[in-house]
């Protein structure tokens, strides 16, 4: 329990998808111009992460890893399909995003109106595939760990994108040197925010 909580806090603040690994920067820079749309996108990302990361973990553990197919027959102990993992992960993500979109549209039109336009963008958001690959690389052992890590990463991403949007809303009133306007200053602000987030490093609860 303590371990899970720790993982959660770490994945939000220290292991932040944007500030520590630059994942999801494309949508981050393109969308984070107003706080409202950023929050919408952030929620959509968190939601998709919570679904895709556990599914991908299950597939990896029970189908792809070296010896993962032993539950079918002991003959498969040496079979290693992990070279297919990139392909399977991205397919699962694309399929689930599509599925989520359809389910949300059917059962909650209001949520669909809020998130709908962002969902198709998410299939190619690096943060989603990134979480799936990090889960594989770091060898998380239980589905609880994976889910907590995915949730934390999503919230961390939401936090980063929303706060940057807030700063960008304000910065449009500032007198920035011309060549630095727009993209340049966004990068530098993100960098400065990442430095601020580094003060969370080493936190252990």
């Amino acid at each position: 329990m303590e371990n899970l909580f720790n993982l959660f806090v770490r994945s939000i603040f220290i292991d932040n998808m944007i500030f520590a690994y630059f994942l999801g920067m494309c949508s981050f820079l393109a969308v984070s111009k107003t706080v409202k749309t950023s929050v919408g996108l952030g929620i959509a990302v968190t939601f998709v992460l919570l679904v895709t990361a556990p599914v991908n973990w299950l597939i990896d553990t029970y189908l792809l890893k070296a010896g993962a197919l032993v539950w079918l027959s002991p003959d498969f102990a040496d079979l290693d399909l992990s070279y297919l993992s990139f392909m399977i992960f991205i397919a699962v993500i694309a399929a689930i995003v599509q599925l989520v979109e359809m389910v949300v549209e059917k059962f909650s039109p209001s949520l669909y109106n809020a998130l709908g336009i962002f969902l198709p963008l998410i299939a190619v958001n690096c943060a989603i595939l990134g979480v799936a690959l990090f889960v594989q690389e770091r060898e998380y052992h239980t589905i609880a760990e994976v889910t907590v890590y995915a949730g934390g990463s999503g919230i961390g991403w939401l936090l980063a994108i929303a706060s940057l949007a807030a700063i960008r809303e304000k910065i449009s009133y500032s007198n920035i040197p011309k060549p630095l306007r727009g993209l340049g200053i966004s990068f530098i602000i993100t960098g400065l925010m990442a430095i601020a987030f580094m003060s969370f490093m080493g936190i252990k609860i």
Partner: protein, 219 residues
Amino acid sequence: MSEKLKKVEKEPMFSSKVLKLLKNPFNLENPITVQVLGICSALAVTVQMKPAIVMALSVTIVTAFSNLIISSLRNTIPSRIRIIVQLVVVAALVIIVDQILKAYVYDVSKKLSVFVGLIITNCILMGRLEAYAMGNKPWPSFVDGFGNGLGYGLILVIVAFFRESLGSGKILGAKIIPQFMYDIGYMDNGLMILPPMALITIGIIIWVQRSKTPELQEK
């Protein structure tokens, strides 16, 4: 991303001259600093030059060949499953690159870890496929992919150059700061090794580039 794709399509720069396709990505059409594509998956490997160069080459190979394949197939691809076909081609190429790296440059592939896989979601790939390869002949598409990959790699290598030289006093693993500098009190800037400095370095590169080419400035 759709917003960016439109922006790319609007650019009037695409002349039929193949050479221009190759040259433009280095400055006026640089995928990172101008098109804002594909920042995600690669900055984390810019701590040292060697992984950055390998990453740049991998991205170049994947963009060039995925452009070539999609462009050759462009008239047969059913438009409804277009994105899936593109993803499958890209993912297959990335898997091949990853397997080759693991077999031939094991040390570097360990350092690149998950970031090779993340080439799949690199917006630069889907961006170029949608904007160029789907509507052009194979050879120009190949060159376009090659040029964009290199333009992208250029930024990676520049960022890695500053981070490695200032952060650990080395270039490609060889010491460049002589020992007497350390003796009189010079210290490596540890901050350069940490992730935030990659962002700030890119910000500064954009600043320099846009000061030199004012037509790129935003209002």
